[in-house]
Amino acid sequence: MTERGSAAGGGDRSDEAEDTGGDRRVSAVLAPLWTALDRWGLAATAGLTALIVGVVFYFPVVLVLRRAVVAGGRVTVAPVAAVLTDPFYVGVLADVLGNPLAVGRHLGAVVGFLTEFRLRLGTYHGLPWLYLVVPGVRTGLFGFTAYQALLSTVLSVAVGLPGAYVLSNYEFRGRRFLRSVTILPFVLPAVMVAIGFYAMFGAQGTLNDALGLLGLGDVNLLFTLKIVVIAHAFYNAPLIVRVTTAAWETVDRRTVETARSLGAGPRRAFLDVVVPQLLPAILTGALLTFIFTFLTFPIVLMLGGARLATVEVWVYRRIRELAYQEAAALAVVETVLSLGLTLLYLRYERRAASLGTGSVEDRDPLVPSLRSLVTPQRLAIVGYGALVVVLFVGPLASMILASVTNEGTLTLRWYRVLLERQVEGASFQTKPLPAVRNSLLFAGATLVVAVPMGVVVAVTTRRWRGGHLLETLAMAPLSVSGIIVGIGLLEGLVFGVDLPGPYRLVLTGPVAIAAAHAVAAYPFVVRSVGPLLSRIDRATVESARALGASRARTLLDVELPLVASGVVAGAAFAVAISIGEFDSTVILAEGGTTYTMPVAVERYLASRTLGPASAMGTIMLAVTAAAFVVVDRVGGRFER
């Protein structure tokens, strides 16, 4: 025992010339350092993660939200109460929240509302038709925000479920490819998506061109709730597809076969056995979609026009009008709601993860023969495929098309405009090349910082008790508005904070942006690494420990190689989130030269035509795709 104990503890093996173990090559000078890293590395990384999240997330958020509850050095509920009792924000609930004890009056109002329902007989295309007349309700800003989030969630689920069905039940060429690119829309920068939607669904958009060819009338969806909801579905339906497909693939076919053998028909077996196993995943995805669309900002800002506004947009407007206290109060209410939803989501996700036992893979061929395409089921799938093309491929293709056309003719004019701007532009103007360079730099920095952070959080929360609470705290960046974080970073860290003693903490623009990106990205690393980590047999980790590997060493030698695919996916996420991040970046980059590609796209959008913006968007698409490929290639080497 003593022999091995001292060798492991002292790190004095370095002077031996044997070359089998990698750590023996470390020179004698570095040996104590290595030992310290070995022993404390994990704890140190965890501490550093907590520090970064604390400084770059919790501190700025608290700084901003404090305005809502502290006025003139005293704690007050007045600003939050003002929001909660303002019909503009909370609609009919304002009276209830303002006078919670006037139960009689509120009940009266409910009864009054219910008696307002009317059935009216009318005609519809000449046919007699019954109309239900629903009395109007003032929903307020929060009501509208929740309403659009609900619509978006419903549409995302409706679009996503058939996709999950096809992907998990049929075999066809490119199935795996499709399954992996479902991640793509989710990480596309909102600005780019907005450009794509302008180009696809705008008055002169590709859709109207196509409809025109078919002799059908114009549709203009821009600046309506419809386009916002469709854009949200563009983002979140793939999310639904992903989680549902993952659950569907782990449904043990033998459970279905057992149900069939017990007398259930195919439909009944599906309802009784498959659906209950899918439901947790669908609900998890739906909850996540609701949270994301509740906090939506750039999509509504750019596609919704002046009339539509969500809470987040309003927070942004109030801040631009320097009404900080009201913005903070709004943000407090918003944050409480979304944190509550996140908590619900995390609880649900755990339950969803505990289901599923692995499956026997047997998928029907999607196109067994050409003749089979005529069956109703196959026809429906073909129709769905067309919808997917319009909704997902359409906007991106339209954006690329818009970047190389001008009034119907092919041209490279917009790229020349960008080039001229690069060469001749004044220093205060937004140039394309610095935007690309900044984006890549921030993406690199995010990768380096967010991946270790995410891995450490995943390890810590999965293996320790009390991990639930820690996980919720660590996941908070998912559910707090980027605007708030951005403002907090600007006020707190960019302008500087006094520390005890003669010190002053200042994070300059680029560092603040990179830190904000890392904090926004690492929850996604946690989400991609965590589930894989918990799938590793505990005995595998313990075997390594018993064989003499320290905790940190076990992580490097055993766990990370086994979850390499998750780490690579997390890294790709981190890069994509960083490149696409808009909310914090647009605030922190204000007036400086640290703008990124999405900020550049947004600034070019201000001009009359879609041209320069879509050219910039196309460049961004190319850079994002290239970054993805690089991460995947380089990361793929570590996978087995």
Binding site: T20, E542, G548, V558, L562
Partner: protein, 354 residues
């Protein structure tokens, strides 16, 4: 090599108690088995020795060294799990050599020589470059054993290592493990729920139940003289009869009444009263093979309900006044009623009603 001592070990998870005052002394080089039904605390005990769990009470000592707070990697233990837990991203040889990254191989060998030696030991010399997934379950478990032994640990911990294997393979591997253990003289703790395996393989064994140790002893002692009703029922098949003590017959025996029948059974002498026990309720344990059709001092006539042919013997389930009785007989012709008998020395008496 080293001896292992558990003193008053306890483990609580919130309100549930996994272990309660476990005291065990395992000798240097001993093959010691923890046996019991699932949830009895045997695996928790093993994990506490390995350092994967910290006890809430009591101490674990290796020799005279208290190992509290010593992480698993510094305990010098080799562990083999039921699930093999091979590293799927390493070859067989890399798996076996993993522990040698942190400790020098014994006897001045190089790591390569040590890996080759261990693979030889478990008859897998040709398999070094294979992926673990390409091996059969039994082969994987032998790799796991070689991996655990490679750094030359002082203690070998085996957590249900055979449970995932089929019966025939299990037997063979068990003998192989035992042979290797005897050769290396390594202190070994073996966890199993299979009492037959525990009897076959151990120097000594501890029967555990509900987080407590019920009995410690050699396989023969535990089989012949179970200390509690639980042990009597768990280790080997047994017939347990509640009996009322009528009085002593002589120094070694006493008369008891079981459902109207009167039997003469041995008196436990640990109370020093020579049969005049203070208790009047005892449990009489009679092994199925102790009952015979050739008569004996004590008699019972049973109605046969099930007759199973086992090859060289038959097992008979029978009814004796509403109680089920199991009998093991040489291969005799089947019949409906059996007149059975046993002698006092073939019965075992439990004083405690627990």
């Amino acid at each position: 090599m080293v001896s292992i001592h558990l003193d008053d070990l306890g483990k609580r998870y919130g309100d549930t108690t996994a272990l309660e005052s476990v005291d065990l002394d395992i000798a240097d080089g001993e093959f010691f088995t923890l046996v019991g039904p699932s949830g009895c605390g045997k695996t928790t005990t093993l994990r506490t020795v390995a350092g994967f769990e910290a006890p809430t009470e009591g101490t674990v000592r290796f020799g005279d060294r208290d190992v509290a707070g010593v992480p698993p990697e510094d305990r010098d233990v080799g562990v083999v799990f039921q699930s093999y837990a091979l590293f799927p991203h390493m070859t067989v040889a890399e798996n076996v050599g993993y522990g040698l990254r942190f400790a020098d191989p014994p006897d001045g060998m190089s790591a390569e020589e040590r890996v080759a030696q261990l693979l030889e030991l478990v008859d897998l010399a040709e398999f070094g470059e294979r992926d673990p997934e390409s091996l059969s379950g039994g082969q994987q478990q032998r790799v796991a054993l070689a991996r655990a032994l490679a750094p030359g640990p002082e203690v070998l911990l085996l957590d249900e290592p055979m449970s995932a294997l089929d019966a025939r393979l299990r037997e063979r591997l068990r003998r192989q493990v035992r042979a290797i253990q005897s050769e290396l003289e390594i202190t070994t703790i073996y966890v199993t729920h299979d009492q037959e395996e525990a009897l076959a393989v151990s120097d000594r064994l501890a029967v555990m139940h509900d987080g407590r140790v019920e009995q410690v002893g050699t396989p023969q002692a535990v089989y012949r003289h179970p200390a509690t009703r639980f042990v009597a029922g768990f280790v080997g098949e047994n017939n347990l009869f509640d009996a009322e003590v009528l009085g002593p017959t002589d120094d070694a025996n006493r008369r008891v009444a079981v459902d109207g029948a009167e039997w003469v059974v041995p008196s436990p002498d640990e109370d020093g009263l020579g049969g005049a026990s203070l208790r009047d309720q005892v449990t009489v344990c009679v092994r199925p093979e102790a009952l015979s059709t050739d008569g004996g001092a004590n008699e019972l006539t049973v109605d046969v309900s099930e007759w199973s042919f086992l090859g060289e013997s038959v097992r008979v389930h029978a009814d004796w006044g509403g109680r089920e009785v199991v009998v093991r007989l040489p291969d005799v012709p089947e019949r409906d009623r059996l007149a059975l008998g046993f002698d006092p020395e073939d019965a075992h008496v439990l004083d405690d009603q627990n």
